[in-house]
């Protein structure tokens, strides 16, 4: 029942809502990083989150995924809390968030994507290995499966992270700056995979920095600068007005009353 209600409430009523964020506020100590965010992400969109440095883009994803604890607000995935919907969600963290000198191979990292569905203690078997190899092939990295991860280029490392998320076989993909520091070939390879995901009906949410490619790559966009500035179809809201609002003025949010 509650799911139906949510659908009626939404502005884009022909779509099911993949992600719904209500009144989300996150702060590090006294400084709010996200302020009272309401966000609805319809199913099947390829969405960019844009905003200046420190706007809280990564924080938003991390709060949705439960990595960070918000001060207030709630997040639902297809109408239910994240904890119950984990298996529908995959995450591609920023490449720089891990130590690539860790002693492990490319295939091993991709296999980590299967750990969630395996649960505690159970080890990955043949089925998981096969799925991981397929994912490696999809990102064009099959030849590097036994390569130590520190011996991969930045673009290749990014593809490994992408493959790890693909293996999760989720419905919603969150990606934190997947295009950062990759060459043109990798960027095209990644965007093709993202478009394929959308074609398969998946929802993809990407923290993105390159404003020029937004209209080309994405069909949905959210402007964020501590507060949510705007969200909607790229063709309707990707304009100077919103860009100025997001990047031009320095939003200062104070929590003092």
């Amino acid at each position: 029942m509650s799911e139906i209600k949510i659908q009626e409430k939404t502005s884009v009523s022909e779509h099911k809502m993949a992600v719904q964020v209500d009144d989300l506020t996150v702060a590090y100590n006294y400084k709010p990083v996200l302020w009272d965010i309401d966000l609805e992400i319809p199913e099947g969109v390829l969405m960019a989150i844009v905003g200046p440095n420190g706007a809280g883009k990564s924080t938003l994803i991390k709060a949705i995924l439960g990595i960070l604890k918000p001060i207030a607000g709630s997040v639902t995935i297809y109408g239910k809390p994240y904890d119950e919907q984990r298996k529908l969600v995959a995450y591609v963290p920023q490449k720089g968030s891990v130590d690539w000198d860790f002693p492990t191979t490319a295939l091993d990292v991709v296999m980590m994507g299967t750990y969630g569905s395996l649960g505690w203690i159970k080890r990955p078997g043949l089925k998981e290995k096969k799925a991981s190899l397929e994912a490696l092939e999809k990102v064009g990295m099959l030849a590097f499966k036994n390569r130590q991860i520190s011996q991969l280029s930045g673009g290749q490392q990014q593809r490994i992270f992408l493959a790890r998320a693909l293996v999760q076989d989720a419905s919603i993909y969150f990606m934190d700056e997947p295009f950062q520091g990759v060459d043109a070939t990798t960027e095209i390879a990644i965007i093709n995979i993202l478009k394929e995901l959308r074609k398969a009906g998946k929802t993809v949410i990407v923290v993105h920095h390159d404003l020029q490619t937004v209209p080309e790559y994405f069909d949905w966009v959210t402007f964020l600068n501590v507060k949510k500035i705007a969200t909607g179809p790229v063709k309707d809201i990707f304009n100077d007005d919103n860009l100025t609002k997001t990047y031009g003025i320095n939003y200062k949010v104070s929590i003092q009353e």
Binding site: N29, K62, L65, G66, I67, D83, R86, V89, Y91, P93, S97, V98, D99, F102, P103, T104, T105, D108, V109, M112, Y115, G116, L118, G119, W120, I121, K122, R123, P124, Q148, S150, R164
Partner: protein, 375 residues
């Protein structure tokens, strides 16, 4: 004393056997767990924990008045754990970086521990002597029950490792991602840290507060040099640690009872130095050799490419040119020219050189990353 004699002594002599077994097991378990500390970039954690254990030993003695090892180690365990969780607390609740928190807790607890030790020394109590052995360790005081305790903890640690291997690996590599997959990272973290604390406390009697962290770090740092697989690294670290224990005991026993703990630590450090220099893939020596070899290859390639550009302008690629042309080119030396001749890329005729068919083709493919050394 020769090696055979020593071995029979290890088997027959109770004290030596106990110490050898004890240091071997201790080296093994600390090496294993040290891998995790090193990979988490928490190398200092071991140092902080061992120093934090000191006041626990003193307080346990003050309360019970007993010098029984197990009683004192329980005190060490409690204060070690308190120190560890204070560090965690400081890191999560304040702006301070973890190295600051570690240093702070380390010196605070150690200072307090030293204070208590001097206080105890001044007490008119005949039973007091010997607490300061926990500073640098005294392997000779190991008894069979201590070894059993170490073996039990090591066995338990192995079991937990095998059970949660997948979770540990995921947590060590990418803790945030582990969280999104639904794993309780706090539980994994506490599990790993508790075992590290336990291993350190067990080693205090043998190696002591001050040097204990070396037992944790040295085998792991050495092992990392030899492998790119986590399981191999953990295994190697355990082996390095155990061998350091056995060798260290042997050296200290055969050299008029040098203090065992420091000798073990020095042996472990020798492993580290050796590994840093001689590891094939990461070692300094082979890296330097590869560097020199690459530079030589590049010089050859540069000369070959220069010749190629000259030869290109002629219909006959083997048209002879004078060697003098090459003098304009910095990469050229007699030696490189001779090497190119040896490889069959160039033929020499008096003061003239000419490119061969093979040399021409190789040069043409140079820009397609076709390195000469692939031949």
């Amino acid at each position: 004393m020769d090696i055979q004699e020593y071995f029979s002594l290890v088997i027959n002599d109770y004290t030596l056997r106990t110490i050898t077994l004890g240091t071997a097991i201790l080296g093994g378990v600390t090496g294993m767990l040290g891998s995790f500390a090193v990979l988490r970039k928490q190398s200092l954690l071991g140092d902080a924990i061992s120093h934090a254990a000191l006041p626990g030993i003193a307080i346990a003695f003050l309360i019970t008045g007993s010098k029984d090892t197990n009683t004192l180690l329980i005190g060490a365990l409690i204060s070690g754990l308190i120190g560890t969780f204070w560090i965690r607390g400081i890191v999560t609740k304040t702006h301070l970086k973890s190295d600051t928190a570690l240093g702070l807790i380390l010196s605070l607890f150690f200072g307090f521990g030293m204070l208590l030790l001097t206080f105890i020394e001044k007490q008119p109590n005949a039973n007091q002597a010997g607490l300061d052995k926990y500073l640098f360790g005294q392997a000779a005081t190991l008894v069979e029950s201590d070894v059993w305790l170490m073996a039990t903890v090591t066995g338990l640690c192995l079991l937990v490792l095998l059970f949660f291997w997948k979770e540990f690996k995921l947590f060590l590599f990418d803790a945030d991602y582990a969280k999104t997959l639904g794993f309780n990272t706090k539980f994994i973290d506490i599990l790993i840290t508790s075992f590290i604390v336990l291993a350190i406390v067990l080693g205090l009697q043998t190696v002591g507060v001050v040097l204990m962290s070396a037992m944790l770090l040295a085998p792991a740092a050495a092992a990392r040099q030899w492998t790119n697989s986590l399981s191999t690294m953990v295994f190697l670290a355990a082996v390095f640690g155990a061998v350091s224990g056995v060798l260290g005991t042997a050296i200290s026993a055969s050299q008029n009872n040098l203090s065992t703990g420091p000798v073990i630590v020095i042996v472990a450090s020798v492993f580290v130095v050796f590994s840093f220099i001689f590891s094939p893939s990461r070692g300094l020596l082979f890296r330097q050799i590869r560097f020199i070899a690459n530079r030589r290859d590049l010089e050859l390639q540069k000369t070959l490419a220069f010749m190629y550009h000259i030869a290109e302008t002629h219909d006959n690629i083997s048209h002879p040119h004078t060697i003098k042309i090459l003098n304009n080119f910095q990469g050229y030396t007699r030696k490189t020219l001779q090497k190119l001749v040896d490889k069959g890329y160039v033929t020499l005729d008096g003061t003239m050189w000419s490119l061969t068919e093979k040399g021409f083709e190789t040069a043409a493919n140079l820009y397609n990353q076709q390195a000469i050394k692939d031949e």
